[in-house]
């Protein structure tokens, strides 16, 4: 008969080398039921274990504690314990039971949210991701949880460190959808719209057999960000988009499609009245802020268009053509845009003229060359990866089986290498 005390001594004894740990894992697995039944007492035993040395055992003791109902007080005691465990535990040991670790981390997130202090979770969660993932290309279930915490805590910068890794390995599609959605929102918060568009685009075009809420919300944001960033939105999705998405997305985002139509008329007044009348719809989607940015982006777009046609233009004329109320307002807009590097111009306040200049970038600085060089390197490594992937897939028995079944009869003219369905 096992007892908890017994388990504790076993853990203390069998935590030094790899073979011991495997033995310990089997031992603990056998004792799982006992641990679960004794879950209320377990916390007191944790003091006898060192989270950095006995990580595996610690994890087995910690997990059952998470299953009982959590009150605020209990969360208050648990949160620091888990945080300490996550930061100090050994990565090798916890990887023996990743699902348990993920479970603990998820519960941890819930508790942090319960305490209404999401910022407390950001640091430990990032450590947890780094410990559990096999490489930086690996997307774990913890990624979306972490990004959600970042969003709630408004620590966008912390989220960037994860988002800048290129991910390719994915465990669950749901993780991927959420990761891209939250990631897109973080980039929107940072006003890095190009990256945001990329991530949202990934959600919208991801293969899916049926439409899901994440994709719909992502599509709405995609429309808005596309308007802000490009000043236009093309409603045709690329042909690799799943048919479910192609059929349904537009129907679920009617007010947004109409917003696009109003935007395309180029009349700021119409756009504003449309936003005003549909305010509640956007507000209930929590997109009102973005919609407001769309409206102000229209001014920018119009001013930018002027730089294409004019060399000099008076502030009053700018105000007239982009439908601003006064030349003062136009000046503020132009000033802001010069500051953001969106146009190149000088304002002559004496006679109220704006002089538009050409892009001063000459593409001959060292930094530019370095930038280009690094892009080339990056693309080369990417295309290598692509070739490797292609080879891998064309050797995959599962794929070959499926591809063979799809093509009923083998004619000699049928030898196009990939059937249409796998057009990714």
């Amino acid at each position: 008969m096992q007892s908890i005390e017994n388990l504790v001594t076993q853990i203390q004894g069998l935590s030094s080398n790899a073979s011991d740990i495997t033995a310990l894992k089997d031992y603990l697995k056998a004792g799982e039921d006992l641990l679960r039944s004794e879950s209320t007492r377990l916390l007191s035993f944790l003091d006898q274990l060192d989270p950095s040395k006995h990580s595996l055992g610690y994890l087995y003791f910690l997990e059952p504690c998470m299953y009982c109902s959590i009150t605020k007080e209990r969360a208050n005691t648990l949160v620091p314990i888990i945080a300490r465990f996550i930061t100090s535990c050994s990565a090798e040991q916890i990887r023996y039971v990743p699902e348990k670790f993920i479970n603990v981390c998820k519960r941890y997130k819930d508790q942090v949210l319960l305490l209404e202090a999401p910022i407390r979770g950001v640091g430990p969660m990032l450590t947890a991701i780094r410990k559990i993932q096999s490489s930086t290309e690996h997307l774990t279930t913890l990624h979306p949880e972490f990004l959600q915490l970042c969003l709630l805590a408004k620590c966008y910068k912390a989220g960037l460190s994860v988002l800048e890794d290129d991910i390719y390995e994915i465990n669950l599609p749901r993780d991927f959808f959420l990761y891209c959605y939250y990631g897109g929102m973080i980039f929107i918060g940072q006003k890095r719209f190009r990256k945001a568009l990329e991530l949202l685009h990934n959600v919208v075009t991801a293969p899916m057999s049926s439409i899901n809420a994440i994709a719909v919300e992502a599509y709405k944001k995609y429309i808005l960000v596309s308007l802000i960033h490009h000043g236009q939105f093309s409603s045709t999705l690329p042909k690799y988009t799943s048919s479910a998405a192609q059929r349904n997305l537009k129907n679920f985002s009617q007010p947004y499609m109409e917003l696009v139509n109003t935007y395309n008329t180029g009349k700021i007044v119409e756009l504003e009245t449309y936003v005003q009348t549909n305010r509640e719809k956007f507000e209930s989607d929590n997109n009102l802020g973005l919609v407001k940015q769309v409206v102000s982006s229209m001014y920018k777009r119009n001013i930018q268009r002027l730089t294409q046609t004019y060399l000099t233009l008076s502030l009053q004329d700018i105000a007239n053509t982009v439908q601003l109320n006064s030349s003062k307002e136009a000046e503020m807009h132009v000033l802001q845009m010069i500051q953001d590097g969106e146009i190149f111009a000088t304002i002559n306040q004496k006679d109220g003229m704006v002089r538009f200049l050409e892009d001063p970038e000459q593409y001959k600085t060292c930094e530019m060359i370095e930038h280009i060089d690094s892009s080339i390197q990056r693309i080369m490594s990417l295309s290598k990866k692509l070739t490797a992937m292609d080879e891998l897939i064309s050797c995959d028995p599962l794929y070959l089986g499926k591809a063979g079944r799809e093509r009923q009869r083998f004619d000699f003219d049928d030898f196009d290498s990939v059937p249409q369905k796998f057009n990714i």
């Binding site: 390995e169 994915i170 990329e198 075009t205 000099t312 233009l313 990417l382 990714i424």
Partner: protein, 441 residues
């Protein structure tokens, strides 16, 4: 033709001293006056004369001209057997032309009765031919039917009958005949897709065609392209029309029309070199242009950069062109295109252009010319930027190097993004496979 350098000299003068000279040169522009309906109608015959007259009546605001057109249409219909058109015209006249132009029920009844009898007779004949199985007779029978329907205004049935003769055509002459009839009816119906297909059918016949037929086919093809708003193709077709056309195709188009349509389409769509080689130096087409001196003048003005006078001519012609059954829809677009071309051509040779001078040359205000230029620059048709302070237009020379760098970087980042997205999707697909496979196990 004048020697090239002399011309460019005069062109330079023109640009420098625009305005002043314009007022001195006051050529009488005949077509600026009201359209002479009678002269216009005499150019055509057959059904198109009636439809053109009725079109004028529908689209003209001047009551006297309307009535004049209706009166002539009435007279013309009385010569034929189309009671349907007759009723329509009478309704439009509405008793405004006195008792002589009222509803003539007796005439209608007799025509209709005769038509019934004739139809019966034709049907009997055709049945007889069909039982005898003589190809030529059957073809003739269907052809007669087509003519009959055409005369009575049943265009759809006429078209069907003409097309049916196709199976019984034995020589290419027959095929040409069938094609020409089908083209005629389709033009009347406004079915210009049929026109194109029958024109190409006719051109594919193995035997060499008569020059008149070729000219007719070119006209029909030009009309079809015009309707499809392919002005460049239309211009080419009209320019190829041979001098043999004369008045032979005036049941569809008059030689004057060939000049007008071809000239305007060419102006709107050709570049300078093409305009010179294909229009101005085209001996063939010059004969047509002689018929409509205004169009000839405006093309020459355009080529020698006398834009103000060219636009004057265009403005004077506009009212009449709007009354043309084929051109009225396209007048606005063609005019816009011609004007834009003039603007582009005007700015093209210069590094900087004073907007005051330019506005003068185009007879508009500085603000107006600024708006027009703005639209053209936004469309990327003029590479220039406006100095709105000093009212000067500066040509803009795109820096190829910078543009290339910009494009390369953009393409690179797009590729980067695409490949990563693709790898991700591939992995997602693969993952789904693994899940399914795992479930099966």
């Amino acid at each position: 033709m004048e020697p090239e350098d002399e011309q460019s000299n005069s062109m330079m003068e023109e640009i420098c001293s625009n305005g002043g000279e314009e007022s001195a040169r006051t050529r009488p522009i005949i077509s600026g006056e009201q359209l002479d309906v009678e002269a216009y109608a005499s150019l055509y015959q057959g059904r198109t004369k009636i439809t053109r007259l009725m079109f004028i009546a529908d689209h003209c605001d001047i009551a006297s001209m309307q009535l004049e057109a209706l009166r002539m249409a009435y007279d013309e219909i009385k010569k034929g057997e189309n009671t349907q058109l007759f009723r329509e015209v009478v309704k439009k006249i509405d008793g405004r032309l006195g008792p002589n132009y009222a509803m003539d029920e007796a005439w209608c009844d007799s025509v209709d009765r005769r038509a019934e009898q004739r139809k019966e007779k034709l049907e009997n004949e055709l049945n007889a031919y069909r039982t005898n199985l003589i190809k030529e007779s059957i073809r003739m029978g269907y052809n007669d039917f087509g003519d009959f329907y055409y005369a009575h205004g049943a265009l759809g049935d006429a078209f069907k009958s003409y097309v049916r003769t196709r199976d019984y055509c034995t020589t290419s002459k027959h095929i040409i005949h069938m094609c020409m009839s089908a083209i005629l009816v389709s033009i009347e119906m406004g079915q210009f897709t049929h026109v194109t297909s029958y024109v190409s059918k006719a051109e594919q016949t193995p035997e060499a065609l008569e020059p008149v037929t070729i000219a007719k086919l070119r006209c029909a093809a030009g009309l079809a392209h015009l309707e499809a708003r392919k002005y460049k193709l239309a211009a080419r077709k009209f320019l190829e029309v041979g001098p043999d056309l004369g008045n032979s195709y005036n049941e569809v188009i008059a030689a004057q029309d060939v000049a007008t349509y071809g000239g305007l389409c060419a102006l709107a769509s050709f570049d300078r070199a093409e305009l010179k080689s294909k229009v101005i130096d085209n001996v063939n087409f010059r004969n047509f242009l002689e018929l409509v001196p205004e169009v000839r003048e405006l093309i020459n003005d355009f080529y020698s950069s006398r834009y103000a006078s060219c636009l004057d001519y265009l403005g004077n012609l506009k009212a009449n062109l709007l009354l043309d059954i084929h051109l009225h829809d396209h007048v606005e677009t063609l005019y816009d295109q011609i004007r834009n071309k003039a603007l582009i051509q005007y700015t093209h040779p210069f590094v900087s252009v004073d907007l005051h001078m330019m506005a003068n040359a185009f007879k508009t205000s500085v603000a107006g010319i600024e708006k027009e230029l703005e639209a053209l620059i936004t469309d990327n048709q003029i590479q220039a930027r406006i100095d709105s302070h000093n009212k000067i237009l500066y040509a803009r020379h795109a820096d190829q190097r910078n543009a290339t760098f910009q494009r390369v970087l953009q393409t690179g980042s797009e590729f980067d993004q695409d490949v990563r997205a693709m790898l991700l999707r591939a992995n997602l697909l693969k993952h789904e496979y693994n899940v399914r496979a795992a479930r099966k196990l």
